[in-house]
Symmetry: D2
Subunit: 439 residues, 4 copies
């Protein structure tokens, strides 16, 4: 029996001049950058859904990727296990140390919820075995509370209490599985938590309910030994017209409103950032300055397309800006860098998936090295520090200390001969970035 990734060899680091498509040119896992191994900085994770499940379907076309991991005659459970074998084979070959999954990714199709639960348990046993054998770890788990028709109007925000209860059921399974597999993260991506039209929607009730569900999940998790991070993954739209977890700032406001900010951090996805009208770097910065930086879904969107393309990251500028934020945030603790990315529909071979990962991992390795060079160079940080100099003494220091008033400031302003505001030097900064990246 042929294995799915049989044409993918063990991927090794061969250096930047290698032309071997099945080799890393920049990701050298044990190489030390800023005092830490690359593999520790980057904590790469494989997304089970895109890598093992997705068929290349789009709204106008059927599957191009054959996902029969074993004989078509196999039982659903045998098929699910063969899929798990392929998953660990792939991670081993790529040297990826973590993975992420939704309940349904690892589950064979089930007749009912009881069978679904039993299957999850059997499959997590099986996967635990593979983890023990390979040393691969779970980065985070989650439940798919959006694909099943019962969630057509939402899960935690469904107008129908039965759908809400089903969501709770799947979250319990997801948490159980995460705890069992030693995952340090649990993600909420609210794919159907939003609305299609405000005209049939009670937004206040729906948001209150979404918070209630999360609160119950936290209580369950904490009382069952989960000491990792809960994450919300912002996305502004798609599949729904409007999703409540629009962007980082919206989610932070929600967490504060409902008193959930202690248990939750953010899982920032590059493509979701741009769909919301933000740069990836912006979303990471918002998370960081609010002590809510958690984990990353590394991919890449197409700025000219209005949907989630989930491309493998290949833009070194973006990876560099991302890694600057990660380093400034102190690096990953429980989180990591999950490739929530898929090959294009026309790239339908198993090798294409490997090419996607290799390029994604090399792109982030380059991003890390560039970020380190920029930080070590020091020019940028010095410029920023100098720019805010006026807040370090005099009236500026009083502003920061909260020791002045509108009256004092206004009178001070009237006393000024001229207002000194310096150039922002954006063009120079952009030239320094290129200078460092291409030297």
């Amino acid at each position: 029996m042929k294995t799915f990734f049989e044409n993918v060899p063990q991927i090794k680091y061969e250096g930047k001049d290698s032309k071997n498509p099945m080799a890393f040119k920049h990701y050298n896992k044990d190489e030390v950058v800023l005092g830490k191994k690359m593999s520790e900085h980057l904590k790469f994770a494989m997304s089970y859904w895109h890598t093992l499940c997705a068929g290349g379907v789009d709204m106008f076309g059927s599957a191009t990727i054959d996902r029969n991991y074993t004989c078509k005659c196999a039982s659903p459970l045998e098929m699910a296990k063969a899929k798990a074998d392929a998953a660990f084979d792939f991670m081993t070959k790529l040297g990826i140390e973590y993975f992420c999954f939704h309940d349904v990714d690892i589950d064979p199709e089930s007749e009912n919820l009881a069978e679904f639960k039993a299957n999850i348990e059997e499959m997590t046993d099986y996967i635990k075995g593979l983890m023990d054998k390979t040393g691969i770890k779970l980065l985070w788990g989650t439940a798919n509370n959006f694909s099943n028709p019962r969630y057509m109007h939402g899960a935690g925000t469904s107008p129908f209490a039965d759908a809400f209860a089903c969501a709770a059921f799947q979250i319990r399974n997801g948490l159980d599985a995460t705890i069992k597999l030693g995952g340090k993260g649990y993600v909420f991506w609210g794919g159907r938590e939003g609305y299609e039209t405000l005209l049939n929607t009670d937004m206040g009730l729906e948001l209150d309910n979404m918070a209630r569900l999360m609160k119950m999940a936290v209580e369950y998790g904490r009382s069952h030994g989960f000491d990792g991070d809960f994450y919300i993954e912002p996305k502004p739209k798609e599949p729904t017209k409007h999703q409540y977890d629009f962007d980082a700032a919206t989610v932070l406001g929600f967490l504060r409103k409902y008193g959930l900010e202690k248990d939750f951090k953010l899982n920032i996805e590059a493509n979701h950032a741009t769909l919301a009208g933000h740069t990836f770097e912006h979303e990471l910065t918002v998370a960081r300055i609010n002590d809510a930086f958690g984990s990353i879904d590394a991919n890449q969107g197409d700025y000219l397309l209005g949907w989630d393309t989930d491309e493998f990251p290949s833009n070194v500028y973006d990876a560099t800006k991302c890694m600057i934020q990660v380093i400034k945030a102190g690096g990953f603790t429980n989180g990591g860098l999950n490739f929530d990315a898929k090959v294009r529909r026309g790239s339908y071979t198993p090798e294409d998936i490997a090419y996607g990962y290799i390029n994604g991992m090399d792109t982030y390795a380059l991003g890390l090295k560039m970020a380190a060079k920029i930080i070590e160079d020091g020019r940028l940080d010095a410029m920023v520090s100098e720019r805010y100099e006026s807040y370090k003494s005099g009236i500026g220091a009083k502003i920061i200390a909260g020791e002045t008033s509108l009256d004092e400031l206004a009178d001070y302003a009237m006393s000024l001969e001229k207002i000194d505001v310096k150039s922002g030097r954006q063009e120079l900064i952009e030239s320094i970035i290129n200078n460092i990246m291409f030297s």
Copy 2:
């Protein structure tokens, strides 16, 4: 001497069949709708800047509108007073009972901050006289902390403490003027509170400072007798690449983080909503369900253009959806409906400004009447209420009451034979809206 609006007659209500371009077809101020006069429901306000100051300039062309309100030989102060005369002439002719302004709108150009302050004081005396004479009231005041080069990198978020102090100076003037003229609102629109590039920006410090400035403004206002509402007006971008007050949800999160939510409400602008990727109705709903609905900047954007076009509102669907939210929020208290709208550059005559207002006011009068019909019809509200029926008893009621757990819900879900989720009936709802609007 010719007056600016001399070709604009007193505008009267002539009913829907009138073809007189200089008459209202729907706005009949004393007509009672849902128990209240139209003028009380709508609280129309004139925007001083667009109506009296803007010249029709755009990034590729110079002014088309002649704004010499009196002889070009007049002194700046005489010119500013003639402009104020024109403003009150216009409001009187249109039957508009409120106005809004920035400090610089009413101010002649000044040599320095001291002269600026003196001029504001003289001008507010003059305007107070016009208000007393006409009975016209101030809806809200504000300071223009974005046009002057000293704010090129921000005002409250400037890296330069002197610019911050100047902003404080202008806010003090703006508050003084607002209090003197009896305004019940004071607006913060952070036109430069944002960044051009994250590479030269300390976002954390800037946001902290923005909150500090607002806190000082609140302290000053409250201690000087201002008992109205402070408003933040969200806008996602333009002029800066990213503005901190991105949208309603972002602003609410900011207010909560810094403990400002008691004193601040939102001033929602239609065109800013769509620039942020939201419908106007969405932003109003977010404000309403967070008890932060304050005031409205009524205008209309072009969904296919990526900048603020500030068109006069003419879309009755949007006005209807807006007024449904206003009514659900209990109507305006301190706020009102300010036409932050301008004529197209090619519509350069004073009459065009009147046409813009007439159509804007008629559009909102229609919106109000349609909203009232939809509410009185009751079909929509009944559908929404019925849709959430499952939360009124059983497991749903326990969810709302916070009396259940993940375990109970999950077990309940497993006990269900089938999950009953009903159609959202969006198509039917859209047909009911048209049914009511065009019957």
Copy 3:
């Protein structure tokens, strides 16, 4: 056996005050508007794919609509015939006189191309029988050259000649079917005619090939008795990153370049227009002034979403502007108004489909009546005519006649005392539109 649309009654016109959801409020097919029956003006058509085939799938969720038109035990061919029965039942109940289809819509799944062809032939016999019985006609036919994996890189623009040949095969079937069923239109929608990345694409060769395929289709059609119109339906993107038939102007340029402009007209879709950054009205105008107005895919997009939502049209403004263009173009000849629209995923009942059509048909009936009122009112046309007055005599007339030169014009300009350019009166025009629509 229950029939799919059994809860949909015969839909009758009951007038604008009816609250019956299963009745027309505005579409009164025999009512005469501008000298012609509404049904002749509007020529409504049912889209076979959305109405009978789509399951409510999206990229994040599985089907919500049950499409088993008969016992699941039925053979594919029996199922296809039951589906056709449902289609004609639906059209009869709604009073829709035309339909449109892709080959695959009516076809049961086939083992190979030969079986596919045989099935098409059997199914068109069957459908012909239903057409004869009901009097319903075919508006246009087409081939689905985008869903099958063989078209993953294009059909007429595939880098693989075998895929090109398959496209030719499907087009031959599509044309044969169209001719057999008496259709007066044949549509090319190039869902995969474009690229994912320019880096692997020979755009010049691909466009030449696309033209070659169309040329062969014209030759085949004309020699087999097809005397209707060929249409290209522009769409800018989705599923591919860039589609060659981006918009009306692009397609017109393509047709001229390859000498295809005699045989082809445009099929303009509302949602595709807005995805391209244009209004629907714009695309219709471009088609009209180039004598290329052919047919319409009536639907509605969401300006805030970047993908094709294919909503049922409910915006009377847009329908009005559309119908003004249709009337100015002299009305439909071979084309008509096809509802390329689908219910939201959460509107999963057969009744929802009926509500969608009822609202769509009423919206266009209103649009027609509003367009007629605007034309009969005459104010707008008079304003436009007067606006271009200067080209009717003097130097303007010489420009139009091509009887002047840069020198003459430049010297004339230098002789002018002042340049007289009048207001565009956009605000007044918008108020007149509302005046007419809401009087």
Copy 4:
């Protein structure tokens, strides 16, 4: 007297490791790449308007850049000459060999058209002197037919014949100046050739007139010795709601319709491409495969902003993809690479302008070198060539040769056992690009 760019030294090439902000790191003008000097490949040009005229104004703020090139007491003509001196000083220091200008850029403000013409003549004499002295050449000239209020409704597409005549006057001046200064290009950028609303617009007449004006310009130019290229520069919107020269494909269709394709080529601007929903690379490719590649306006937009930001190019990926197209097109003939770019409003010093140019020039130098490496590497071209292999023989070759028919192709398709369509290998290609760029 201080000169404007006195703090800008002569900019020299110091190599990639230099940290001197006032030095080139990659642009080494005499270095030979693919057999030609870098300066010949790139043909850099300075934009007179952004570099010498723009003040940093935006829609919400006044000028930040002081543009008094000499004593404020100087006459307009003296000021214009001092500005020209600064322009040539700047180009000399940067080593830029070409410039581009609009009539109004070099012109002092004039009382009337006659004075305007006289001033242009005096100024071109003056500039000619500077050109002779420095060896700097004119890349292209143009007329600003969009800023003056007389063009508020268009120039060649104005509803007012007098405005049309003024446009002809300015074009005559522009052509005279271009010819006198030896320019090999003349650009039409139709900043007001479009509409604000279709409701007051006769699109057919306007487009016919636009073609008439261009035809007259060609006749004038050719009969006065202009043997260079006419260019149209596409832009989709801004300042108008819709601009007729939407994108490359639209313009090509227009040129073909009116028989202008012999005399006109395209001037492609990066930022205009993205505003139209295209990549820069796409627009260049469209121009190239239609033999219409002319010249380039090199800048960079912000994908998340909906207006023309005209940033200095700093993205090496985009520059690389651009230069691949330029090289494939055979390089520039009459055209070149004009920096239609401006510093951010907050970068208000003359040094910032130099930083912008240095980074722009280095970015394109890198782009050229990367493009050369990719071409010399050969992997990509080989993949593309192999991908279309099936059109080189058999049925594919018959398709290309036009020697087959729908019938033959359809029958051929039916004879196939299976359809062989290979992976598009997009992920591999993206990894090869990074492999080459970062090796």
